[in-house]
């Protein structure tokens, strides 16, 4: 596999993982749980 293509695939995979992780923060259940925790600390 050409080096450039391999590198591109790496970047795409990395971006996908980061996007999925970020999306996990936006799930309503997670938002609510974290918000409760923040309110508890505040």
């Amino acid at each position: 596999m050409p080096v450039l293509l391999k590198r591109c695939l790496w970047y795409v995979a990395l971006a996908a993982v980061l996007a999925l992780s970020f999306a996990a923060y936006l799930r309503p259940a997670f938002m609510l749980d974290l918000a409760n925790r923040i309110l508890l600390c505040a």
Binding site: V17, L18, S21, F22, A24, Y25, L26, R27, A29, F30, M31, D33, L34, A35, N36, R37, I38, L39, L40, C41, A42
Partner: protein, 404 residues
């Protein structure tokens, strides 16, 4: 464990330490989610669990130099395996012990000790020894990014685990994950003894040399500020937003997500730039940029948008000091005692963290606002920017010792 005869490749080291760092930093980052269920189940006040978390952080810093000494002397692999076992034991302890003092002391010592054996300080030695000098800073950047990624990615996973397996079940699953991933990864970190031995210098000599060398003391001072700023902002920011009228907790959640995401890029970028530019100037710029970002955030009208911009900026600057600080240490003192010296500077970081979180609460209780602590945070940023400037990054010149 049989000693290796061949040094592992840089790719192997980065992959193995990357996975260990991801788990080590990630698992502890989500501990806040257990506050409510564990306190409810055990009929504790919030103070018990908070005290355990505070003790974990202090122990992490206090054990750091000793874990570093062990990693430099007996090898990173052994220390990482010991750390993984401590981590798993600490998680099991947290899932089963309901007596408050036993919980606080046990989890504080076990998890604190585990972190000192599996986080950046303990791993830095082998990374520094394996990477050629031209790639060292980049390699530290990769490891810093792995630590940041762990913090970012594992939080939602841990929250989901508690929801599906219950708080005790989640601890057990994480204990198994830590043991099953970290121990096999640690086996890739075996080095031949010759690589670890390096130049002839005893441990006390190395400690005396570091603490007698001005740049090391300046790094300690800078890292203290790093800990102070990050933990003050991380802990007190939601309360500050609430005080200032940003009552939607979703804003704080999004801010945390942005800090986490940008932290990954910041750590990597800092390591990469550290290989091309003088690290002292980069460190100085980071501290100055933090002070500027905080000042602008306080001056600008507060809105969700200003919070998001501030979070992204602070995220970029969050752990970016880690690869650079360790890079300067490796450049000046070499890599023979790198884990130990990293442990010492990290201890200074943790003292700063402790003071940041404590002083924030202390002054808020007395003054009813965070104004003074914000000012201290800005002043410390300027101070750290100034103390990093005169650091001489040149390798220390040692007198030749006669062979024994």
């Amino acid at each position: 464990m049989h000693p290796e005869t061949r040094s592992p490749s840089l790719k192997t080291i980065l992959l193995a330490t990357g996975l260990i760092l991801t788990l080590a930093m990630g698992v502890r980052h989500g501990f806040g989610f257990w506050l409510q269920p564990i306190s409810q189940a055990n009929h504790w006040t919030r103070e018990t669990y908070s005290l355990a978390m505070a003790l974990q952080n202090l122990m992490w810093g206090a054990f750091g130099p000793f874990a570093g000494i062990a990693a430099d002397r007996y090898g990173t692999a052994r220390v990482a395996i010991f750390g993984a076992l401590l981590y798993a034991a600490g998680l099991l302890w947290m899932s089963h012990v309901a007596q408050p003092m036993l919980f606080v002391i046990g989890s504080g010592v076990l998890i604190g000790g585990a972190l000192s054996c599996t986080a950046f300080g303990a791993m830095s030695g082998i990374i520094g020894r394996t990477a050629p000098e031209s790639k060292r800073s980049w390699a530290f950047g990769i490891s810093g990014a792995a630590s940041s990624f762990g913090q970012f990615a594992l939080m939602p996973i841990e929250q989901q685990l508690i929801g599906t397996a219950g708080w005790q079940g989640a601890f057990l699953i994480l204990a198994a994950l830590v043991a099953l991933v970290m121990i096999p990864m640690a086996l890739f970190l075996r080095e031949p003894k010759a690589v670890r031995s390096g130049p002839q210098q005893s441990l006390p000599e190395a400690i005396r040399e570091a603490f007698g060398h001005k740049p090391f003391l300046l790094l300690l001072a800078g890292y203290f500020v790093c800990g102070f700023q990050l933990v003050f902002i991380g802990v007190h920011m939601p309360a500050y937003l609430k005080d200032r009228g940003v009552t939607d907790p979703g804003v704080a959640v999004m801010a945390l997500a942005l800090i986490g995401l940008f932290n990954i890029f910041g750590s990597y970028l800092a390591g990469r730039l550290g290989g091309r530019l003088p690290k002292r100037y980069l460190l100085s710029s980071i501290y100055l940029a933090r002070a500027t970002a905080i000042a602008l955030f306080l001056i600008a009208p507060l809105s969700p948008a200003s919070v998001y911009v501030f979070a992204a900026a602070m995220g970029l600057l969050w752990l970016s000091t880690v690869p650079l600080t360790n890079g300067v240490i490796a450049g000046i003192f070499g890599v023979r005692y790198l884990s130990m010296l990293s442990g010492f500077v990290f201890f200074s970081h943790q003292v700063g963290s402790f003071l940041g979180v404590w002083l924030g609460g202390f002054l808020y209780t007395r003054q009813g606002n965070y104004n003074t602590v914000w000012m201290i945070t800005i002043a410390l940023g300027v101070f750290a920017a100034l103390v990093n400037l005169p650091i001489n990054e040149k390798p220390i010149v040692r007198a030749q010792t006669a062979p024994a």
